[in-house]
């Protein structure tokens, strides 16, 4: 799939630096001062229980919401507009009311790509995601799993430096989950940095090179995957790995 990688691409906008990132809303501080560096060449999995702030963190990184404190720095951007070099797959992606192929084309047209180039990319990603036979069908008629694949195809076609994925398999069955994971691995192999949230431990084990563990808006640790899964550095992560509630919560629900 050489057509899906971009050998002539400019150097990536990475690394991504988070400097004391804070996000507060509704009188509550939801992201509590996160500092980290995310570099190219590895799959970073953002792990944490429900409500830990995973979605917020990804939306902040992607620029969908503005931090109320701290900064996001694309250290390799060097004047390029970082917004044009990233993509995101949402937990519930929005399908435009047009055909499957036109959904991919829509994203490409916004990047001002020539028609022939767009056609080639559409062909490539639809083939690679197994959606080619649906090309002319209305996207909203696809099943949830197929829609998620289309969301991946649409993001992949942009050949981003960074792809954010927010629990992309949360509503999929095991087979569709595996299919989506395989697509993610291929996007990764094409040179796109993967930053993905999940609360599915088994999935994290399958995909992670490094884990960023979030708990109640704090980054507890950023650890290489093999270390994290055998000897997590923080108590919060330990409880999470054992499938237990953090003690403070356990007392409330005996």
């Amino acid at each position: 799939m050489t057509a899906l990688t971009d050998p002539a691409a400019a150097p990536a906008i990475l690394p991504l630096g988070l400097e004391g990132l804070v996000f507060a809303a509704g009188g509550k501080t939801l992201i509590k001062g996160i500092t980290a560096t995310l570099s190219a060449g590895s799959r970073s999995i953002v792990l944490g229980p429900n409500g830990a702030g995973k979605t917020l963190l990804l939306r902040l990184c992607h620029g969908l919401i503005l931090p109320t404190g701290g900064r996001i720095v694309w250290k390799g951007a060097a004047g390029a507009d970082p917004a044009l070099r990233q993509a995101m797959v949402f937990q519930r992606p929005v399908m435009l009311r047009r055909s499957v192929a036109a959904n991919v084309d829509y994203a490409l047209r916004l990047r001002d790509l020539a028609r022939a180039d767009r056609q080639q990319r559409i062909e490539d990603v639809l083939t690679a995601t197994g959606l080619r036979r649906f090309a002319t069908q209305p996207a909203r008629l696809l099943s949830v799993g197929e829609q998620q694949k289309l969301a991946l195809a649409r993001a992949w076609a942009l050949r981003p430096d960074v792809l954010f994925l927010d629990e992309p398999t949360a509503s999929l069955d095991p087979a569709a989950t595996r299919a989506v994971e395989e697509i993610i691995l291929r996007i990764d192999a094409g040179g796109t940095k993967i930053i993905m949230s999940t609360h599915d431990l088994a999935q994290a084990r399958r995909l992670a090179n490094e884990v960023l563990f979030l708990h109640r808006g704090r980054l507890c640790e950023q650890t290489p995957a093999p270390v994290f899964f055998t000897a997590p550095r923080t108590a919060e992560a330990g409880y999470f790995l054992e499938g237990k509630l953090f003690p403070q919560l356990r007392r409330i629900n005996p």
Partner: protein, 235 residues
């Protein structure tokens, strides 16, 4: 009682035989209202969409004005357009008063706020749903607006139909700026008003029947669009 029956029979006959006066009046009415609707669409759809997607100073003031204008009585719209087009008015030099163009203008003024308000409502809902996805694609606000107008096309057609319904039903504005001149500016509603007062019930009834059918058609179309939009949303 038999007067009424006679009038109905005569009205049916006029429609059945495609009476020339009646057909002329119906065609002029349709031409005026459809043109007004087209003008109101070209202004109202993007205006409503922009009010939904952009935040700018004065936005609230415009929204309030549009909602106020929606409830304006047609005679008042007629009066305002009359003053604009009268010899002494700012557009007096165009010589449009008592022409179909004046009626088109009046109806367009009447229904642009309706179409703008309804499309603002539709596009606001879509914007909430699409916002982050479009932002993620790095779509500029203008691109996003165009996209949403297309995505909401079925619901927006409903807004156009609402505008058409109101324009085709009103009598006050076109009466004032058109003058109800035989064979020039007589439309269905103004003819009904005039002929009824003259006691010529058959033509009035015939046109009334056509207006009722038109209203039924608009209501049916709106209903069908609503079903189609729901199907599209769930699909």
């Amino acid at each position: 009682m038999s007067d009424l029956a006679d009038a109905f029979a005569a009205a049916a006959m006029l429609i059945w035989s495609l009476d020339q006066d009646l057909v002329g009046i119906v065609l002029l009415s349709l031409r005026v209202t459809l043109t007004a609707m087209a003008i109101a669409a070209v202004i109202g759809l993007p205006l409503g969409g922009a009010l939904a997607v952009f935040r700018f100073p004065g936005r609230s003031a415009i929204l309030i004005t549009i909602n106020a204008l929606m409830g304006l009585p047609p005679v008042v719209v007629g009066l305002i357009v009359y003053l604009m087009l009268s010899r002494a008015g700012p557009l007096g030099a165009l010589g449009l008063l008592f022409t179909p163009a004046a009626m088109i203008l009046a109806q367009a003024v009447l229904i642009t706020p309706i179409i703008a308000a309804l499309s603002c409502q539709t596009i606001s809902g879509l914007w909430e749903e699409y916002r982050e996805q479009l932002q993620s694609f790095a779509a500029r606000r203008g691109d996003a607006l165009a996209t949403l107008l297309w995505e909401g096309r079925i619901a927006l057609l409903t807004a156009l139909l609402a505008g058409f319904g109101r324009a085709s039903a009103e009598v006050g504005a076109v009466m004032i700026v058109g003058g109800n001149i035989d064979h020039v500016t007589r439309v269905m509603t103004t003819t009904i008003a005039l002929e009824t007062s003259k006691g010529n019930l058959s033509l009035a009834l015939g046109l009334g029947i056509i207006l009722i059918s038109l209203a039924m058609g608009v209501a049916g179309g709106t209903y069908a669009l609503k079903l189609a939009a729901e199907r599209q949303r769930s699909a």
